[in-house]
Protein backbone atom coordinates (compact mmCIF):
# COMPACT_ATOMS: atom_id res chain seq x y z
CA UNK A 1 0.00 0.00 0.00
CA UNK A 2 1.38 3.36 -0.97
CA UNK A 3 1.55 5.40 2.21
CA UNK A 4 1.98 8.72 0.47
CA UNK A 5 -1.06 8.24 -1.72
CA UNK A 6 -2.84 11.52 -2.45
CA UNK A 7 -6.02 9.59 -2.19
CA UNK A 8 -5.45 9.10 1.53
CA UNK A 9 -7.57 11.34 3.73
CA UNK A 10 -6.57 10.05 7.14
CA UNK A 11 -3.32 8.33 7.90
CA UNK A 12 -2.58 6.98 11.36
CA UNK A 13 0.90 5.58 11.97
CA UNK A 14 2.11 3.65 15.00
CA UNK A 15 -0.59 4.99 17.30
CA UNK A 16 -0.18 4.00 20.94
CA UNK A 17 -2.75 5.13 23.50
CA UNK A 18 -2.35 4.15 27.12
CA UNK A 19 -4.44 4.49 30.28
CA UNK A 20 -2.82 4.72 33.69
CA UNK A 21 -4.71 2.62 36.25
CA UNK A 22 -3.92 1.49 39.75
CA UNK A 23 -3.16 -1.99 38.44
CA UNK A 24 -0.66 -0.67 35.88
CA UNK A 25 -0.45 0.90 32.45
CA UNK A 26 -3.15 -0.40 30.13
CA UNK A 27 -2.08 -0.25 26.54
CA UNK A 28 -5.49 0.12 24.89
CA UNK A 29 -4.10 0.87 21.43
CA UNK A 30 -0.68 -0.50 20.57
CA UNK A 31 0.99 0.40 17.30
CA UNK A 32 -2.07 0.86 15.12
CA UNK A 33 -1.75 1.93 11.49
CA UNK A 34 -4.88 3.06 9.65
CA UNK A 35 -5.41 4.62 6.27
CA UNK A 36 -8.77 5.96 5.17
CA UNK A 37 -9.10 6.92 1.51
CA UNK A 38 -11.33 9.65 0.17
CA UNK A 39 -14.90 8.51 -0.35
CA UNK A 40 -14.44 5.02 1.04
CA UNK A 41 -16.18 3.28 3.88
CA UNK A 42 -13.81 1.54 6.25
CA UNK A 43 -15.27 -0.97 8.67
CA UNK A 44 -13.52 -1.41 12.01
CA UNK A 45 -14.44 -4.66 13.73
CA UNK A 46 -13.51 -5.88 17.16
CA UNK A 47 -14.93 -6.95 20.48
CA UNK A 48 -15.10 -4.78 23.55
CA UNK A 49 -11.59 -3.92 24.71
CA UNK A 50 -10.09 -4.37 21.26
CA UNK A 51 -9.22 -0.68 21.11
CA UNK A 52 -11.44 0.18 18.14
CA UNK A 53 -13.22 3.08 19.81
CA UNK A 54 -10.07 4.36 21.56
CA UNK A 55 -8.20 4.43 18.23
CA UNK A 56 -10.70 6.82 16.71
CA UNK A 57 -11.24 8.69 19.96
CA UNK A 58 -7.50 9.40 19.73
CA UNK A 59 -7.89 10.62 16.17
CA UNK A 60 -10.60 13.01 17.35
CA UNK A 61 -8.39 14.23 20.22
CA UNK A 62 -10.97 12.98 22.71
CA UNK A 63 -8.66 10.94 24.94
CA UNK A 64 -8.73 12.36 28.44
CA UNK A 65 -6.83 11.70 31.64
CA UNK A 66 -5.98 9.02 32.82
CA UNK A 67 -5.52 8.17 29.15
CA UNK A 68 -2.95 9.70 26.84
CA UNK A 69 -1.53 9.23 23.37
CA UNK A 70 1.91 7.82 23.94
CA UNK A 71 3.26 7.62 20.41
CA UNK A 72 2.30 7.80 16.77
CA UNK A 73 1.33 10.24 14.05
CA UNK A 74 -2.19 11.16 13.01
CA UNK A 75 -2.15 12.81 9.60
CA UNK A 76 -5.34 14.32 8.26
CA UNK A 77 -4.88 15.66 4.73
CA UNK A 78 -1.17 15.72 5.51
CA UNK A 79 -1.44 17.77 8.73
CA UNK A 80 -0.34 16.14 11.95
CA UNK A 81 -3.31 16.47 14.28
CA UNK A 82 -1.18 15.81 17.36
CA UNK A 83 0.83 18.97 16.64
CA UNK A 84 -2.26 21.19 16.59
CA UNK A 85 -3.29 23.49 19.44
CA UNK A 86 -6.57 22.61 21.19
CA UNK A 87 -8.15 25.55 19.37
CA UNK A 88 -7.04 24.36 15.95
CA UNK A 89 -8.15 20.84 16.85
CA UNK A 90 -11.61 22.10 17.78
CA UNK A 91 -11.87 23.73 14.37
CA UNK A 92 -11.08 20.45 12.62
CA UNK A 93 -13.30 18.45 14.90
CA UNK A 94 -16.82 19.03 13.80
CA UNK A 95 -15.94 20.74 10.53
CA UNK A 96 -13.62 18.26 8.82
CA UNK A 97 -14.05 15.21 11.00
CA UNK A 98 -17.29 14.41 12.79
CA UNK A 99 -18.06 11.55 15.10
CA UNK A 100 -21.34 9.99 16.20
CA UNK A 101 -21.54 8.10 19.45
CA UNK A 102 -23.20 4.81 20.23
CA UNK A 103 -25.57 6.22 22.79
CA UNK A 104 -27.50 9.04 21.19
CA UNK A 105 -29.48 9.80 24.31
CA UNK A 106 -26.45 10.74 26.39
CA UNK A 107 -24.54 12.27 23.49
CA UNK A 108 -27.25 14.87 22.82
CA UNK A 109 -27.76 17.75 25.22
CA UNK A 110 -31.09 17.14 26.94
CA UNK A 111 -31.59 20.83 27.77
CA UNK A 112 -31.41 22.16 24.21
CA UNK A 113 -33.85 21.63 21.37
CA UNK A 114 -32.64 19.67 18.40
CA UNK A 115 -32.78 22.87 16.34
CA UNK A 116 -30.55 24.72 18.79
CA UNK A 117 -27.98 21.94 18.75
CA UNK A 118 -27.93 21.88 14.96
CA UNK A 119 -27.70 25.68 14.83
CA UNK A 120 -24.69 25.59 17.14
CA UNK A 121 -22.74 23.44 14.71
CA UNK A 122 -23.88 25.38 11.66
CA UNK A 123 -23.00 28.68 13.32
CA UNK A 124 -19.51 27.49 14.19
CA UNK A 125 -18.58 25.80 10.96
CA UNK A 126 -20.51 27.14 8.00
CA UNK A 127 -18.64 29.88 6.18
CA UNK A 128 -21.29 30.27 3.51
CA UNK A 129 -23.75 31.91 5.87
CA UNK A 130 -24.92 35.41 4.95
CA UNK A 131 -23.76 38.41 7.00
CA UNK A 132 -26.96 40.13 8.23
CA UNK A 133 -28.25 38.79 11.56
CA UNK A 134 -31.81 38.11 10.42
CA UNK A 135 -30.71 36.64 7.13
CA UNK A 136 -28.12 34.56 8.96
CA UNK A 137 -30.66 33.19 11.40
CA UNK A 138 -33.04 32.35 8.57
CA UNK A 139 -30.28 30.63 6.64
CA UNK A 140 -29.31 28.55 9.68
CA UNK A 141 -32.92 27.52 10.21
CA UNK A 142 -33.28 26.55 6.59
CA UNK A 143 -30.10 24.51 6.71
CA UNK A 144 -31.25 22.80 9.94
CA UNK A 145 -34.59 21.88 8.36
CA UNK A 146 -32.73 20.60 5.33
CA UNK A 147 -30.42 18.44 7.48
CA UNK A 148 -33.29 16.87 9.42
CA UNK A 149 -35.05 16.21 6.13
CA UNK A 150 -31.88 14.63 4.78
CA UNK A 151 -31.75 12.11 7.61
CA UNK A 152 -35.39 11.26 7.02
CA UNK A 153 -37.17 12.92 9.91
CA UNK A 154 -40.77 13.70 8.97
CA UNK A 155 -42.03 17.29 9.34
CA UNK A 156 -38.57 18.66 10.24
CA UNK A 157 -39.87 22.21 10.66
CA UNK A 158 -41.88 21.35 13.77
CA UNK A 159 -39.57 18.70 15.13
CA UNK A 160 -36.73 21.24 15.21
CA UNK A 161 -38.34 22.74 18.28
CA UNK A 162 -38.45 19.45 20.18
CA UNK A 163 -36.03 18.11 22.76
CA UNK A 164 -34.02 14.87 22.38
CA UNK A 165 -36.21 12.92 24.80
CA UNK A 166 -39.21 13.49 22.55
CA UNK A 167 -37.63 11.32 19.86
CA UNK A 168 -37.33 7.55 19.60
CA UNK A 169 -33.94 5.80 19.68
CA UNK A 170 -33.69 5.53 15.90
CA UNK A 171 -34.73 9.14 15.46
CA UNK A 172 -32.13 10.30 17.98
CA UNK A 173 -29.41 8.39 16.13
CA UNK A 174 -30.54 10.15 12.93
CA UNK A 175 -30.43 13.50 14.70
CA UNK A 176 -26.91 12.83 15.88
CA UNK A 177 -25.96 11.93 12.32
CA UNK A 178 -27.63 15.15 11.13
CA UNK A 179 -25.61 17.16 13.64
CA UNK A 180 -22.44 15.35 12.60
CA UNK A 181 -23.17 16.00 8.94
CA UNK A 182 -24.26 19.62 9.39
CA UNK A 183 -20.77 20.91 8.73
CA UNK A 184 -20.34 18.65 5.68
CA UNK A 185 -17.33 16.84 7.13
CA UNK A 186 -14.80 15.07 4.97
CA UNK A 187 -14.73 12.17 7.37
CA UNK A 188 -17.53 10.72 9.46
CA UNK A 189 -16.57 8.38 12.29
CA UNK A 190 -19.64 6.41 13.27
CA UNK A 191 -19.02 4.57 16.56
CA UNK A 192 -21.47 1.66 16.81
CA UNK A 193 -24.24 3.77 15.27
CA UNK A 194 -26.77 0.97 15.33
CA UNK A 195 -25.86 -1.21 18.30
CA UNK A 196 -28.64 0.22 20.46
CA UNK A 197 -31.19 -0.02 17.66
CA UNK A 198 -33.58 -2.68 16.43
CA UNK A 199 -32.76 -4.43 13.16
CA UNK A 200 -35.39 -2.72 11.08
CA UNK A 201 -34.25 0.69 12.34
CA UNK A 202 -30.59 -0.36 12.01
CA UNK A 203 -31.13 -1.07 8.33
CA UNK A 204 -32.65 2.40 7.88
CA UNK A 205 -29.80 4.19 9.63
CA UNK A 206 -27.04 2.30 7.81
CA UNK A 207 -28.62 2.93 4.45
CA UNK A 208 -28.96 6.57 5.36
CA UNK A 209 -25.22 6.77 6.06
CA UNK A 210 -24.42 5.01 2.77
CA UNK A 211 -26.71 7.33 0.82
CA UNK A 212 -25.25 10.46 2.34
CA UNK A 213 -21.72 9.21 1.79
CA UNK A 214 -22.45 8.81 -1.91
CA UNK A 215 -24.15 12.20 -2.03
CA UNK A 216 -21.51 14.21 -0.20
CA UNK A 217 -18.51 12.16 -1.27
CA UNK A 218 -17.25 11.86 2.28
CA UNK A 219 -15.33 9.02 3.88
CA UNK A 220 -16.89 6.93 6.60
CA UNK A 221 -15.31 4.89 9.35
CA UNK A 222 -17.90 2.45 10.66
CA UNK A 223 -16.94 1.04 14.05
CA UNK A 224 -18.95 -2.06 14.84
CA UNK A 225 -18.84 -5.51 16.37
CA UNK A 226 -21.18 -6.87 13.70
CA UNK A 227 -19.44 -8.50 10.75
CA UNK A 228 -22.76 -8.61 8.90
CA UNK A 229 -22.98 -4.82 8.96
CA UNK A 230 -19.43 -4.58 7.63
CA UNK A 231 -20.14 -7.12 4.90
CA UNK A 232 -23.05 -5.09 3.62
CA UNK A 233 -21.77 -1.55 3.96
CA UNK A 234 -17.96 -1.32 3.91
CA UNK A 235 -15.39 -1.30 1.11
CA UNK A 236 -12.55 -2.29 3.36
CA UNK A 237 -12.39 -3.81 6.81
CA UNK A 238 -9.90 -3.67 9.64
CA UNK A 239 -10.14 -6.29 12.39
CA UNK A 240 -8.78 -5.33 15.79
CA UNK A 241 -7.84 -7.56 18.70
CA UNK A 242 -6.33 -6.61 22.07
CA UNK A 243 -5.22 -3.15 20.94
CA UNK A 244 -3.72 -4.22 17.61
CA UNK A 245 -4.89 -4.48 14.03
CA UNK A 246 -4.78 -8.19 13.25
CA UNK A 247 -6.12 -8.15 9.72
CA UNK A 248 -7.10 -5.63 7.09
CA UNK A 249 -8.11 -5.67 3.45
CA UNK A 250 -11.05 -5.47 1.05
CA UNK A 251 -14.22 -6.59 2.82
CA UNK A 252 -15.29 -9.33 0.45
CA UNK A 253 -11.86 -10.95 0.53
CA UNK A 254 -11.36 -10.73 4.27
CA UNK A 255 -14.78 -12.19 4.96
CA UNK A 256 -14.61 -14.70 2.14
CA UNK A 257 -11.10 -15.88 2.93
CA UNK A 258 -9.97 -14.74 6.35
CA UNK A 259 -6.22 -15.11 6.94
CA UNK A 260 -5.88 -14.46 10.65
CA UNK A 261 -7.13 -17.18 13.03
CA UNK A 262 -9.02 -14.55 15.05
CA UNK A 263 -10.95 -13.37 12.00
CA UNK A 264 -11.67 -16.99 11.16
CA UNK A 265 -12.82 -17.58 14.72
CA UNK A 266 -15.08 -14.51 14.68
CA UNK A 267 -16.70 -15.63 11.44
CA UNK A 268 -17.07 -19.14 12.82
CA UNK A 269 -18.74 -17.83 15.96
CA UNK A 270 -21.68 -16.26 14.21
CA UNK A 271 -24.73 -18.45 14.61
CA UNK A 272 -26.77 -18.76 11.45
CA UNK A 273 -29.85 -20.54 10.28
CA UNK A 274 -27.66 -22.26 7.69
CA UNK A 275 -25.58 -23.80 10.49
CA UNK A 276 -28.48 -25.49 12.29
CA UNK A 277 -27.57 -28.82 13.72
CA UNK A 278 -23.88 -28.17 13.22
CA UNK A 279 -21.67 -27.17 16.09
CA UNK A 280 -20.54 -23.62 16.07
CA UNK A 281 -16.93 -23.10 16.99
CA UNK A 282 -16.59 -20.46 19.61
CA UNK A 283 -13.18 -18.94 20.23
CA UNK A 284 -12.36 -20.28 23.64
CA UNK A 285 -11.04 -18.25 26.55
CA UNK A 286 -11.09 -14.52 26.83
CA UNK A 287 -9.38 -11.38 25.63
CA UNK A 288 -6.13 -10.93 27.62
CA UNK A 289 -5.70 -8.08 30.08
CA UNK A 290 -3.82 -5.31 28.33
CA UNK A 291 -1.30 -4.89 31.12
CA UNK A 292 2.28 -6.14 30.81
CA UNK A 293 1.60 -8.31 27.81
CA UNK A 294 4.37 -10.74 26.96
CA UNK A 295 6.15 -10.34 23.62
CA UNK A 296 4.15 -12.92 21.74
CA UNK A 297 1.15 -13.11 19.48
CA UNK A 298 -1.72 -11.61 21.50
CA UNK A 299 -4.12 -14.23 20.24
CA UNK A 300 -1.77 -17.04 21.25
CA UNK A 301 -3.70 -18.40 24.24
CA UNK A 302 -6.93 -18.72 22.24
CA UNK A 303 -5.52 -19.72 18.87
CA UNK A 304 -6.25 -23.10 17.32
CA UNK A 305 -3.23 -22.87 15.02
CA UNK A 306 -0.58 -21.73 17.47
CA UNK A 307 2.99 -22.95 17.40
CA UNK A 308 6.35 -22.12 18.98
CA UNK A 309 7.09 -19.55 16.28
CA UNK A 310 4.19 -17.47 17.66
CA UNK A 311 6.09 -16.75 20.88
CA UNK A 312 7.62 -13.52 19.63
CA UNK A 313 6.32 -10.07 18.68
CA UNK A 314 4.44 -10.44 15.46
CA UNK A 315 4.47 -7.72 12.79
CA UNK A 316 1.86 -7.27 10.08
CA UNK A 317 2.53 -9.64 7.17
CA UNK A 318 1.50 -9.11 3.58
CA UNK A 319 -1.39 -11.38 2.73
CA UNK A 320 -2.16 -10.63 -0.88
CA UNK A 321 -2.90 -7.42 -2.78
CA UNK A 322 -4.04 -4.70 -0.38
CA UNK A 323 -4.26 -7.24 2.43
CA UNK A 324 -2.30 -7.71 5.61
CA UNK A 325 -2.60 -9.96 8.63
CA UNK A 326 -0.69 -10.18 11.89
CA UNK A 327 0.02 -13.90 11.81
CA UNK A 328 3.54 -15.30 11.59
CA UNK A 329 2.30 -18.47 9.96
CA UNK A 330 1.39 -16.58 6.78
CA UNK A 331 5.05 -16.01 6.16
CA UNK A 332 7.20 -18.16 8.43
CA UNK A 333 10.50 -16.80 7.02
CA UNK A 334 9.84 -13.27 8.23
CA UNK A 335 11.11 -12.59 11.69
CA UNK A 336 10.30 -9.28 13.21
Amino acid sequence: MNMQNDDTLLQVQGLRTVFETRAGTVCAVDGVDVAVRRGECLGVVGESGSGKSVTFGSVMGLVRRPGRIDAGRILFEGRDLRALTPRQMRAIRGRDIAMTMQDALTALNPALTVGEQLAEVLEAHDEELPRGRAARRRAIRDRAVEMLGLVGIPSPGTRLRQYPHEFSGGMRQRIMIAIALASKPKLLIADEPTTALDVTIQAQVLELISDIRAELGMSVVLITHDLGVVAEHCDRVMVMYAGQVVEQGPTAEVIGQPKHPYTKGLLGSIPRLALRGEKIHPIEGQVPELIDLPAQCRFYSRCRERGVECLQSIAMQDAGPGRQARCIRLNPETVS
Binding site: R22, A23, G24, P66, P282, Q286, E289, I291
Partner: protein
Amino acid sequence: MAAVDTDTPRDAATAQESIFRRNLHSFAANRLALGSAIVVLLFILMAVFAPLVAPHDPAETDLFRRLQPPAWMPGGEWSYLLGCDALGRDILSRIIYGARISIFIGAAVVLVATTIGIIAGLAAGYLRGWVDTVISRVVDILLGFPYLIFAIGLMAMMGPGLINIILALVYKEWVIPCRVVRGETLATRELEYVEAARALGAPGRHIMLREILPNILSPVIVVSTIRMAHVIILEASLSFLGLGVQPPTASWGAMVADGRAFILQAWWVSTFPGVAILLLVLAINVASQGLRDAFDPRFHE
Protein backbone atom coordinates in the same frame (compact mmCIF):
# COMPACT_ATOMS: atom_id res chain seq x y z
CA MET B 1 -18.68 -31.53 28.95
CA ALA B 2 -15.55 -30.25 27.35
CA ALA B 3 -14.26 -27.83 29.91
CA VAL B 4 -14.22 -24.46 28.26
CA ASP B 5 -11.07 -22.62 29.05
CA THR B 6 -12.18 -19.92 31.37
CA ASP B 7 -9.10 -18.18 32.59
CA THR B 8 -8.71 -17.16 36.16
CA PRO B 9 -10.60 -13.98 36.90
CA ARG B 10 -8.98 -11.00 35.36
CA ASP B 11 -6.94 -8.48 37.12
CA ALA B 12 -5.45 -10.20 40.12
CA ALA B 13 -4.73 -6.87 41.82
CA THR B 14 -8.35 -5.82 42.10
CA ALA B 15 -9.51 -9.37 42.57
CA GLN B 16 -8.01 -9.58 46.02
CA GLU B 17 -9.38 -6.24 47.04
CA SER B 18 -12.93 -6.26 48.26
CA ILE B 19 -15.21 -3.34 47.57
CA PHE B 20 -15.21 -2.44 51.23
CA ARG B 21 -11.46 -2.32 51.47
CA ARG B 22 -11.29 -0.11 48.43
CA ASN B 23 -13.75 2.24 50.14
CA LEU B 24 -11.62 2.36 53.26
CA HIS B 25 -8.56 2.95 51.14
CA SER B 26 -10.00 6.02 49.44
CA PHE B 27 -11.38 7.25 52.75
CA ALA B 28 -7.91 7.11 54.24
CA ALA B 29 -6.62 9.02 51.23
CA ASN B 30 -8.75 11.99 52.26
CA ARG B 31 -6.62 13.50 55.03
CA LEU B 32 -9.12 16.02 56.31
CA ALA B 33 -11.74 13.32 56.69
CA LEU B 34 -9.26 11.04 58.37
CA GLY B 35 -8.23 13.80 60.80
CA SER B 36 -11.85 14.45 61.63
CA ALA B 37 -12.49 10.78 62.19
CA ILE B 38 -9.58 10.76 64.64
CA VAL B 39 -11.11 13.74 66.49
CA VAL B 40 -14.42 11.89 66.74
CA LEU B 41 -12.61 8.82 67.99
CA LEU B 42 -10.81 10.89 70.65
CA PHE B 43 -14.15 12.27 71.85
CA ILE B 44 -15.52 8.75 72.09
CA LEU B 45 -12.47 7.49 74.02
CA MET B 46 -12.74 10.51 76.28
CA ALA B 47 -16.37 9.71 76.99
CA VAL B 48 -15.76 6.02 77.61
CA PHE B 49 -12.79 6.57 79.93
CA ALA B 50 -14.17 9.74 81.55
CA PRO B 51 -13.44 8.61 85.13
CA LEU B 52 -9.80 8.00 84.20
CA VAL B 53 -9.34 11.12 82.12
CA ALA B 54 -11.22 13.72 84.16
CA PRO B 55 -8.99 15.52 86.68
CA HIS B 56 -11.85 16.11 89.16
CA ASP B 57 -15.25 14.80 90.12
CA PRO B 58 -17.64 16.70 87.81
CA ALA B 59 -20.22 17.12 90.60
CA GLU B 60 -17.83 18.24 93.26
CA THR B 61 -18.66 21.81 94.20
CA ASP B 62 -16.17 24.17 95.80
CA LEU B 63 -17.56 27.60 96.51
CA PHE B 64 -14.06 29.00 96.98
CA ARG B 65 -13.43 28.35 93.29
CA ARG B 66 -16.69 29.97 92.14
CA LEU B 67 -16.19 31.27 88.56
CA GLN B 68 -12.44 30.68 88.75
CA PRO B 69 -10.93 31.66 85.36
CA PRO B 70 -8.97 29.29 83.08
CA ALA B 71 -5.39 28.45 83.98
CA TRP B 72 -3.67 30.97 81.71
CA MET B 73 -5.63 33.93 83.11
CA PRO B 74 -4.83 35.81 86.32
CA GLY B 75 -6.34 33.85 89.21
CA GLY B 76 -6.30 30.60 87.22
CA GLU B 77 -4.80 27.32 88.35
CA TRP B 78 -3.26 24.58 86.13
CA SER B 79 -5.15 21.86 87.91
CA TYR B 80 -8.38 23.58 86.83
CA LEU B 81 -7.37 24.04 83.19
CA LEU B 82 -10.59 25.55 81.81
CA GLY B 83 -11.70 27.22 85.02
CA CYS B 84 -14.77 26.59 87.16
CA ASP B 85 -18.50 27.32 86.97
CA ALA B 86 -20.82 29.20 89.36
CA LEU B 87 -20.77 26.30 91.82
CA GLY B 88 -17.00 25.96 91.62
CA ARG B 89 -17.11 22.71 89.56
CA ASP B 90 -14.22 21.96 87.19
CA ILE B 91 -15.39 22.83 83.65
CA LEU B 92 -12.94 20.46 81.90
CA SER B 93 -14.16 17.49 83.95
CA ARG B 94 -17.77 18.42 83.27
CA ILE B 95 -17.07 18.65 79.53
CA ILE B 96 -15.44 15.22 79.65
CA TYR B 97 -18.41 13.71 81.45
CA GLY B 98 -20.83 15.71 79.28
CA ALA B 99 -19.39 13.98 76.19
CA ARG B 100 -20.85 10.75 77.56
CA ILE B 101 -24.37 12.16 77.45
CA SER B 102 -23.99 13.77 74.01
CA ILE B 103 -22.40 10.78 72.37
CA PHE B 104 -24.60 8.20 74.07
CA ILE B 105 -27.81 10.00 73.17
CA GLY B 106 -26.57 10.76 69.67
CA ALA B 107 -25.60 7.13 69.04
CA ALA B 108 -28.70 5.67 70.69
CA VAL B 109 -31.11 7.93 68.82
CA VAL B 110 -29.42 7.30 65.47
CA LEU B 111 -29.23 3.55 66.08
CA VAL B 112 -32.89 3.20 67.04
CA ALA B 113 -34.04 5.61 64.33
CA THR B 114 -31.97 3.87 61.65
CA THR B 115 -33.29 0.46 62.63
CA ILE B 116 -36.88 1.67 62.49
CA GLY B 117 -36.12 3.55 59.27
CA ILE B 118 -34.61 0.49 57.60
CA ILE B 119 -37.54 -1.75 58.50
CA ALA B 120 -40.16 0.82 57.46
CA GLY B 121 -38.24 1.88 54.36
CA LEU B 122 -37.68 -1.69 53.16
CA ALA B 123 -41.32 -2.58 53.74
CA ALA B 124 -42.57 0.54 51.95
CA GLY B 125 -40.15 0.24 49.03
CA TYR B 126 -40.40 -3.50 48.49
CA LEU B 127 -44.00 -4.30 49.34
CA ARG B 128 -45.44 -1.09 47.81
CA GLY B 129 -49.24 -0.94 47.84
CA TRP B 130 -51.06 0.09 51.00
CA VAL B 131 -47.97 -0.49 53.20
CA ASP B 132 -46.12 2.10 51.17
CA THR B 133 -49.07 4.49 51.23
CA VAL B 134 -49.42 4.31 55.01
CA ILE B 135 -45.69 4.66 55.74
CA SER B 136 -45.19 7.42 53.20
CA ARG B 137 -48.14 9.41 54.56
CA VAL B 138 -46.84 9.10 58.14
CA VAL B 139 -43.44 10.26 56.91
CA ASP B 140 -44.98 13.23 55.11
CA ILE B 141 -46.96 14.23 58.17
CA LEU B 142 -43.96 13.96 60.50
CA LEU B 143 -41.86 15.99 58.08
CA GLY B 144 -44.40 18.76 58.48
CA PHE B 145 -43.86 18.86 62.26
CA PRO B 146 -41.38 21.40 63.58
CA TYR B 147 -38.76 19.05 65.01
CA LEU B 148 -37.58 20.89 68.11
CA ILE B 149 -40.94 22.33 69.13
CA PHE B 150 -42.49 18.88 69.14
CA ALA B 151 -39.56 17.42 70.97
CA ILE B 152 -40.01 20.14 73.59
CA GLY B 153 -43.72 19.36 73.80
CA LEU B 154 -43.06 15.64 74.19
CA MET B 155 -40.45 16.26 76.87
CA ALA B 156 -42.88 18.50 78.71
CA MET B 157 -45.47 15.73 78.58
CA MET B 158 -43.23 12.80 79.47
CA GLY B 159 -40.98 14.62 81.90
CA PRO B 160 -37.18 14.62 81.83
CA GLY B 161 -35.02 11.53 81.72
CA LEU B 162 -32.54 9.78 79.45
CA ILE B 163 -35.04 7.38 77.86
CA ASN B 164 -37.53 10.17 77.32
CA ILE B 165 -34.97 12.33 75.50
CA ILE B 166 -34.18 9.44 73.20
CA LEU B 167 -37.88 8.83 72.51
CA ALA B 168 -38.54 12.52 71.95
CA LEU B 169 -35.84 12.61 69.28
CA VAL B 170 -36.51 9.21 67.68
CA TYR B 171 -40.15 10.11 67.05
CA LYS B 172 -39.09 12.04 63.99
CA GLU B 173 -35.50 11.04 63.39
CA TRP B 174 -36.42 7.67 61.83
CA VAL B 175 -38.09 9.48 58.96
CA ILE B 176 -34.76 10.41 57.42
CA PRO B 177 -33.22 6.92 57.08
CA CYS B 178 -36.68 5.64 56.13
CA ARG B 179 -36.83 7.92 53.11
CA VAL B 180 -33.31 7.00 52.04
CA VAL B 181 -33.99 3.27 52.40
CA ARG B 182 -37.33 3.48 50.59
CA GLY B 183 -35.77 5.32 47.63
CA GLU B 184 -32.83 2.93 47.37
CA THR B 185 -35.13 -0.08 47.72
CA LEU B 186 -37.38 1.16 44.93
CA ALA B 187 -34.35 1.38 42.65
CA THR B 188 -32.78 -1.90 43.76
CA ARG B 189 -35.94 -4.02 43.61
CA GLU B 190 -36.06 -3.49 39.84
CA LEU B 191 -32.58 -4.98 39.37
CA GLU B 192 -32.36 -8.40 37.80
CA TYR B 193 -30.68 -10.08 40.75
CA VAL B 194 -33.71 -9.26 42.89
CA GLU B 195 -35.95 -10.61 40.16
CA ALA B 196 -33.70 -13.67 39.98
CA ALA B 197 -34.21 -14.31 43.70
CA ARG B 198 -37.97 -14.06 43.20
CA ALA B 199 -37.74 -16.41 40.25
CA LEU B 200 -35.95 -18.91 42.49
CA GLY B 201 -38.88 -18.77 44.90
CA ALA B 202 -37.25 -16.70 47.63
CA PRO B 203 -39.67 -15.24 50.19
CA GLY B 204 -40.00 -11.47 50.65
CA ARG B 205 -38.12 -11.49 53.94
CA HIS B 206 -35.10 -13.10 52.28
CA ILE B 207 -35.20 -10.65 49.38
CA MET B 208 -35.45 -7.59 51.62
CA LEU B 209 -32.82 -8.61 54.17
CA ARG B 210 -30.35 -10.64 52.11
CA GLU B 211 -30.58 -9.31 48.58
CA ILE B 212 -31.55 -5.65 48.93
CA LEU B 213 -30.32 -4.50 52.35
CA PRO B 214 -26.60 -5.30 51.95
CA ASN B 215 -26.56 -3.34 48.71
CA ILE B 216 -28.16 -0.18 50.08
CA LEU B 217 -26.36 -0.06 53.41
CA SER B 218 -23.62 2.37 52.33
CA PRO B 219 -25.84 5.43 51.80
CA VAL B 220 -27.76 4.58 54.98
CA ILE B 221 -24.56 4.48 57.03
CA VAL B 222 -23.43 7.80 55.56
CA VAL B 223 -26.76 9.49 56.27
CA SER B 224 -26.87 8.10 59.80
CA THR B 225 -23.45 9.53 60.59
CA ILE B 226 -24.44 12.94 59.32
CA ARG B 227 -27.66 12.77 61.34
CA MET B 228 -25.71 11.96 64.50
CA ALA B 229 -24.29 15.49 64.42
CA HIS B 230 -27.82 16.92 64.15
CA VAL B 231 -29.04 14.80 67.03
CA ILE B 232 -26.17 15.99 69.24
CA ILE B 233 -27.17 19.60 68.55
CA LEU B 234 -30.83 18.80 69.26
CA GLU B 235 -29.93 17.13 72.53
CA ALA B 236 -27.82 20.15 73.50
CA SER B 237 -30.76 22.42 72.64
CA LEU B 238 -33.12 20.41 74.84
CA SER B 239 -30.60 20.48 77.70
CA PHE B 240 -30.10 24.19 77.17
CA LEU B 241 -33.82 24.65 77.68
CA GLY B 242 -33.67 22.60 80.85
CA LEU B 243 -35.53 19.65 79.31
CA GLY B 244 -32.56 17.33 79.03
CA VAL B 245 -30.82 15.15 81.60
CA GLN B 246 -31.28 16.64 84.99
CA PRO B 247 -28.59 18.17 87.21
CA PRO B 248 -26.19 17.35 88.63
CA THR B 249 -25.41 15.16 85.56
CA ALA B 250 -23.16 17.18 83.29
CA SER B 251 -24.50 17.94 79.83
CA TRP B 252 -23.06 20.40 77.32
CA GLY B 253 -26.32 22.16 76.53
CA ALA B 254 -27.11 22.66 80.22
CA MET B 255 -23.58 23.94 80.85
CA VAL B 256 -23.98 26.60 78.15
CA ALA B 257 -27.32 27.56 79.75
CA ASP B 258 -25.76 27.74 83.22
CA GLY B 259 -23.10 30.16 82.03
CA ARG B 260 -25.53 32.51 80.35
CA ALA B 261 -26.07 34.63 83.48
CA PHE B 262 -22.33 35.23 83.90
CA ILE B 263 -21.39 35.64 80.26
CA LEU B 264 -19.99 39.14 80.87
CA GLN B 265 -17.90 38.45 83.98
CA ALA B 266 -17.05 34.74 83.32
CA TRP B 267 -17.23 34.01 79.57
CA TRP B 268 -15.50 30.63 79.95
CA VAL B 269 -18.41 28.96 81.68
CA SER B 270 -20.58 28.98 78.51
CA THR B 271 -17.85 29.15 75.89
CA PHE B 272 -15.91 25.92 76.51
CA PRO B 273 -18.90 23.54 76.38
CA GLY B 274 -20.05 25.47 73.29
CA VAL B 275 -16.67 24.88 71.69
CA ALA B 276 -16.91 21.18 72.55
CA ILE B 277 -20.28 20.94 70.75
CA LEU B 278 -18.89 22.81 67.77
CA LEU B 279 -15.77 20.65 67.56
CA LEU B 280 -17.58 17.31 67.79
CA VAL B 281 -20.33 18.28 65.34
CA LEU B 282 -17.86 19.70 62.85
CA ALA B 283 -15.64 16.62 63.07
CA ILE B 284 -18.60 14.28 62.55
CA ASN B 285 -19.78 16.27 59.55
CA VAL B 286 -16.40 16.37 57.84
CA ALA B 287 -15.78 12.68 58.56
CA SER B 288 -19.18 11.70 57.17
CA GLN B 289 -18.57 13.73 54.00
CA GLY B 290 -15.35 11.77 53.57
CA LEU B 291 -17.28 8.57 54.19
CA ARG B 292 -19.82 9.56 51.56
CA ASP B 293 -17.11 10.26 49.00
CA ALA B 294 -15.47 6.94 49.80
CA PHE B 295 -18.70 5.00 49.35
CA ASP B 296 -19.83 6.85 46.25
CA PRO B 297 -18.49 5.00 43.20
CA ARG B 298 -18.56 8.22 41.18
CA PHE B 299 -15.52 9.36 43.12
CA HIS B 300 -13.52 6.28 42.16
CA GLU B 301 -11.20 6.02 39.15
